[in-house]
């Protein structure tokens, strides 16, 4: 625990530039010591830039059909070829990343915030703990895919439905993580000291307990993000996810599946980008975990 604190507190100091050249050198050295974070962050940045700047990077419309140019292999006009309806694969792959990353980020943020709120309340207030944890256990027992299929069947298929469907099974895990931290921290004498000096409960939660959850939650959020991207993809692949008119990696792969023998590139590139994205986020998360929370890292290693 103490080593974590030292690391965290020394980080800002390392980032403070005394001169442009020396700070660049220092960041370089820091990244050398954390190759996983460096590689993950670099890869993820590239993918992020590609998808965010998709309209600049390609002149094609992702939905523009061209029946005359169906299933064309890569050419100078169509950098990665065209799909079964003559749409540009490069364009669609980049735009598809927007939907997938959108789902990944939204789910990570929503699940973290909701889980944080539930975990804080559950960990601090004994009276509601049992009820809340029972609900969480109940939620955990619902198979995620079934829930998503049910939700998209019952309501209109939209990106929001997909996000909610993925958030629900992720919340209990975050809530439990936060709760376990709260249970540990609330026994700390400095929390007793805060109670004794008349600190209101909300301030104890925010000032004394919440900061301890930041590091593990950051790590958890990266893993949720990676898993949400995958879940979105397979839900879309099964037709229970993102509506087919929105290009997402899952939808692209689902459509390309029928033409794999004729035109493998339609499937290859979205699949490749999906894999690389998840890889980069996981590498980033692994690196952050080792950096921010050595204790959690040991637990996780013991579990897997």
């Amino acid at each position: 625990m103490s080593s974590t604190k030292i690391l965290i507190s020394s980080d800002p100091a390392e980032a403070v530039p005394s001169g442009a050249a020396s700070s660049r050198k220092r960041i370089g050295r820091w990244l050398q010591r954390h190759p996983r974070i460096a590689f993950g962050a670099a890869l993820f940045s590239i993918i992020l830039v590609l998808t965010v700047f998709a309209p600049v990077l390609t002149s094609h419309d992702p939905l523009q059909m061209n029946p005359l140019n169906r299933l064309k292999p890569p050419s100078s006009e169509h950098f990665l070829g065209t799909d079964a309806l003559g749409r540009d694969v490069f364009t669609r792959t980049l735009y598809g990343g927007r939907a997938s990353l959108m789902v990944g980020f939204s789910v990570a943020i929503a699940a973290t915030l909701v889980g944080l709120a539930i975990g804080l309340v559950s960990g601090y207030f004994r009276a509601v703990d049992n009820v809340l944890m029972l609900i969480m256990t109940g939620l955990m027992s619902i198979p995620g895919i079934l829930l998503a299929i049910a939700m998209t069947t019952l309501s209109k298929a939209s990106l929001a439905t997909v996000i909610v469907a993925i958030v629900i099974p992720e919340v209990p895990r975050t809530a439990r993580l936060v709760r376990s931290i709260v249970l540990m921290i609330r026994e700390q004498p400095y929390v007793d000291a805060a109670i004794v000096t008349g600190t209101p409960v909300w301030r104890i939660l925010i000032r004394h307990i919440l900061p301890n959850t930041a590091a593990p939650l950051t790590v958890q959020a990266t893993f949720i993000c990676a898993s949400a991207i995958i879940v979105e993809a397979y839900l879309s692949f099964l037709g229970a996810g993102t509506p087919p008119e929105i290009p997402s990696w899952g939808n692209l792969i689902a459509e390309a599946r029928n033409y794999i023998r004729l035109a493998f590139w339609i499937l290859l590139y979205p699949g490749l980008l999906l894999g690389l994205t998840v890889l980069s986020v996981n590498l980033l998360g692994d690196g952050l975990r080792d950096l921010l929370d050595p204790r959690l890292a040991r637990q996780m290693k013991g579990r897997s």
Binding site: P189, D192, V196, T197
Partner: protein, 351 residues
């Protein structure tokens, strides 16, 4: 002395009981740990009462109950005459200004993410004591009061030594200008030389502000030095209470005698007269019948196994709970007054 007797004591604890349920089980009868099993004592203004005993005897739980970090199962804790044992969190807040606590572990009792200024400022903010620029001045004044300086204002706890951290903890307790400070072994985590400094600081603060201390400790050498009275606890009960000099010169209860005998003597030629304690502290889940100390007591007789001894006054202001010692003491042969350990000493001395 007589002045102190006329006004009610600052803190009056009566028949305090704290039970914890031990693991809830569906098929077993619920068991309880009797951490504190009927403890009564009082602390006067400007007085230091030391609460001593082996670890696990419940002395820390007594301290935590007074701070209401633990909810007492029964009994009363009166502060200036008002019972706080069952007040709600909100009702309790005004009393937090009267009683404060200094913790055992100077490392864990300070939030590592807050600066010294923030730590001391928190109670000031909670009670809206000072605002704006005055607030910083007050914090600096508090720092200086405990022997730190304004240069420490923006430092984090890890930048302080153990002794400095404990000073910071004392400054935090002083911020709300309390009348009583409960010290839960505030010295035991410190080096001996630092202990002496903190003892001097506490002593100085007591003289300056007329503070009372409830000093929970197991180091008898320190206790002898700083406390006016001593209460000895064994397995959730007070077995002896009296003036420090009386307790150390002529302990009554066999347990107190054994505790004192266990203090290392600085003179190698002196020999121990009393045998040191044998055996372990019994389980507080199923405490021994009768006198809880009987399995380890050299003087134990039949009655001790059957019947729990009442606290009786042996000498003026010196109380203990022991059948055997009471029989040999004509002073204690008289039935004990309504409450043990307070308000009687003056009267009896006169009679």
């Amino acid at each position: 002395m007589s002045e102190a007797l006329s006004s009610p004591p600052l803190l009056q604890v009566d028949d305090l009981i704290v039970r914890y349920p031990v693991k809830k089980s569906l098929f077993k009868a619920r068991q309880h740990v009797h951490a504190v099993n009927g403890v009564s004592f009082h602390v006067r203004r400007g007085e230091t009462l030391a609460l001593v005993g082996e670890s696990g005897c419940g002395k820390t739980t007594v301290g935590r109950s007074i701070m209401r970090l633990v909810r007492p199962s029964s009994g009363s804790i009166r502060v200036d005459g008002i019972d706080i044992a069952s007040l709600s969190r909100r009702e309790l807040k005004p009393y937090r200004r009267k009683i404060q606590m200094v913790f055992q572990d100077p490392y864990a009792s300070l939030n590592p993410r807050m600066t010294a200024g923030q730590i001391i400022g928190e109670p000031l903010g909670n009670f809206d004591i000072v605002h704006g620029a005055d607030r910083e001045n007050r914090i600096i004044a508090l720092l200086e009061k405990v022997g730190l300086s304004r240069t420490h204002l923006h430092r984090y706890p890890h930048e302080f030594s153990g002794g400095q951290r404990q000073r910071l903890g004392i400054a935090r307790a002083l911020a709300v200008e309390p009348s009583l400070i409960v010290g839960d072994e505030p010295l035991s985590a410190l080096d001996v030389s630092v202990q002496a400094q903190i003892v001097n600081l506490l002593d100085h603060l007591q003289q300056e502000y007329g503070l009372s201390y409830l000093f929970i400790a197991h180091d008898l050498a320190v206790v002898q030095q700083i406390s006016h009275r001593v209460a000895v606890m064994y397995l959730g009960r007070i077995v002896e209470i009296g003036e420090t000099a009386d307790i150390f010169r002529s302990p009554i209860h066999p347990y107190t005698q054994a505790l004192l005998a266990a203090v290392p003597l600085p003179d190698p030629r002196k020999r121990r007269i009393i045998e040191p304690l044998r055996g372990e502290v019994p389980s507080p889940i199923a405490p021994p019948s009768g006198c809880a100390f009987h399995p380890r007591c050299a003087l134990a007789e039949d009655r001790c196994r059957r019947e729990a001894p009442q606290v009786q006054e042996f000498r003026s202001g010196h109380f203990a709970a022991c059948h055997v010692m009471a029989r040999n003491n004509e002073y204690a042969a008289r039935p004990s007054s309504r409450e043990h350990g307070f308000a009687r000493s003056g009267k009896i001395a006169n009679s």
